[in-house]
Symmetry: C2
Subunit: 336 residues, 2 copies
């Protein structure tokens, strides 16, 4: 059982999760990647994992029985299975929540850029559908969908997958965004993300790509080289309200911008690429609101967080978002 | 020239430092480490670096002319050389400060645990003396001494060295500690670090080692496996007020606890070990205060920050500080 602890001075929260020490690790094997024959996420190896929480049946043309599977994480950081042992006043605080894995293909692929567009559109729909289901559990206040890609991205298995963590508390990062955006609304009378969209469209220097209803930008205060955000043009606070067609459009744009990002931050091989992407969405119990705007943050992991970042809480980014935009647009074939 | 940017919503600060993209990197060379013959920090290669800010002459017994050198960082994240170009209202904010490198041996050693005790005591004295000098510059409000050890620790050169960054602003992490500790003092009537020392001594389960005037503990909400803090028993807010004998004692305890940490987080070879250590000290312009207590944080870098940490601002630690203490004490030979 994981335990939640807070530093009494800095306020930093930490989940103590001793069970996770036993995780398998494709990347730390001396001999390189795990033999594909042992991958627990591949079709045919379903006996290695528990009963799925959701299984999308395969298209009739494929040979496997399923197309996407959502599994309970075998090494959960948080757990909904909190017993009666924690009821005394001075007992540890259990880390309550639900931790799931989305297996995004029955085949041993490494990146979502290798998926058929329809397959990835279905993956994004599955993210949304899981959030809709988790939202029904009144004990859960919010959920984070995230992808760990590559060793430096924190992945332990190479087979293409994402994770969903639902929590009973709003975590610090989301709380900071909610407070900061509410503050902005009060001062400026608009959603700060809507203001950002208007500014980036007008200025153009940080505009990476756009579709009918979405924008991909390099954020003004990008923490990492080639950090890219995708935002819906139209104000919406909750990702789980996404329509099927918007899910398809988001999947398409994500694949489109991840392709040059993988070129820039890997040596052309998917096994060397490292990034995270995260879906930021308002808590389940927030009524649709004027200040918060759901979005996807793509965070390439080319630079390492060192002592300076640990000591200050600041980031150092050697590639300005304006230079990153130029390079990504060039790779996208949008400029000479 | 580096530029300081703040995310308007989350409040996150980022230093845009395009100059740092050109840094050399011992770890990213395909062929492994840089040939020792090219190391800019080795004795005999002084022509590769600029004029030192401080140079400790060698003991007469050694063959080199110097023992420790403090150099201006060749790829600074912040700079004190801010020109007149930034004076208009809408111009970028320059990242003002001073960025230095402390070369801790004339020999090509990799870790401070390889230094003679007297040599490392002199290194700690140099940290202190540089802070005393930087404090005289009224434009600088605080300084952070930190060590990046190993690839995952963010080091780019292997030759044993640390860094000092002095800033004109109090960074977020230090600000959070100052606010949190002032808040604690108001509520409980004591310095929270002094309270922590009393508790850890009484309970013992997170007490790693102790000397006459210092304590090494695994903090209650450790963010990383084997994270270890060193604190002076006697309340003191400013590291730069350290006496010579206290500097010697600190160097000794740091070497003593870093030895088992290097065993635990490396495979016994210094080139595979990764950690950071950081000296947390009150800002220069804080009068000696009752709530803040200088300390050293050692942060081993065995786990990677993944999507969960980026999305929540929380950490996941698979080794509880109680288990970490047991293991470190065993390696220190203090228990069976």
């Amino acid at each position: 059982m994981s335990e939640l602890r807070q530093d009494p001075i800095s306020g930093q929260w930490v989940i103590m999760a001793p069970e996770r020490a036993g995780r398998p690790d494709d990347f730390e094997r001396e001999s390189g990647a795990r033999p594909q024959g042992e991958c627990p996420f591949c079709a045919g190896h379903e006996y290695l994992t528990s009963t799925p929480l959701l299984e999308l049946p395969a298209h009739p043309t494929t040979r496997t029985g399923w197309q996407i599977r959502v599994l309970p994480n075998k090494y959960p950081a948080v757990s909904s299975n909190v017993g009666q042992t924690f009821l005394s006043a001075d007992s540890p605080t259990p880390a309550f929540g639900q931790h799931e894995v989305v297996v995004e293909s029955p085949q041993h692929l490494l990146s979502v850029t290798q998926l058929e567009p329809q397959q990835f559109a279905d993956v994004v729909r599955v993210y949304r559908d899981r959030l809709r289901t988790l939202k029904e559990d009144r004990r859960l206040r919010c959920a984070l969908v995230f992808k760990n890609m590559g060793l430096a991205g924190g992945a332990t298995l190479q087979h293409v997958h994402s994770q969903i963590v639902a929590l009973s508390t709003v975590p610090d990062r989301l709380r900071a965004e909610l407070c900061g955006s509410a503050e902005w609304l009060k001062r400026h009378g608009s959603c700060p993300y809507c203001a950002m969209i208007a500014r980036e469209q007008a200025e153009g220097v940080r505009l990476v790509a756009e579709t009918e209803s979405l924008l991909a930008i390099s954020p003004y205060a990008a923490r990492m080289p080639y950090e890219t955000w995708i935002l819906p043009r139209q104000h919406a606070s909750q990702f789980e309200d996404l329509s099927d067609s918007a899910a398809r459009e988001l999947a398409g744009l994500l694949q489109r911008v991840l392709t040059p990002i993988e070129t820039v931050c890997g040596s052309g091989h998917h096994s060397t690429v490292a990034y995270n992407y995260l879906i930021h969405s308002a808590p389940f119990d927030t009524p649709p609101c004027d200040h918060y705007h759901w979005h996807v943050e793509i965070i390439p992991r080319m630079t390492r967080l060192a002592g300076f970042e640990w000591g200050t809480g600041w980031h150092i980014n050697p590639v300005t978002p304006e230079a990153a935009t130029q390079r990504l647009r060039k790779l996208l074939g949008q400029v000479d």
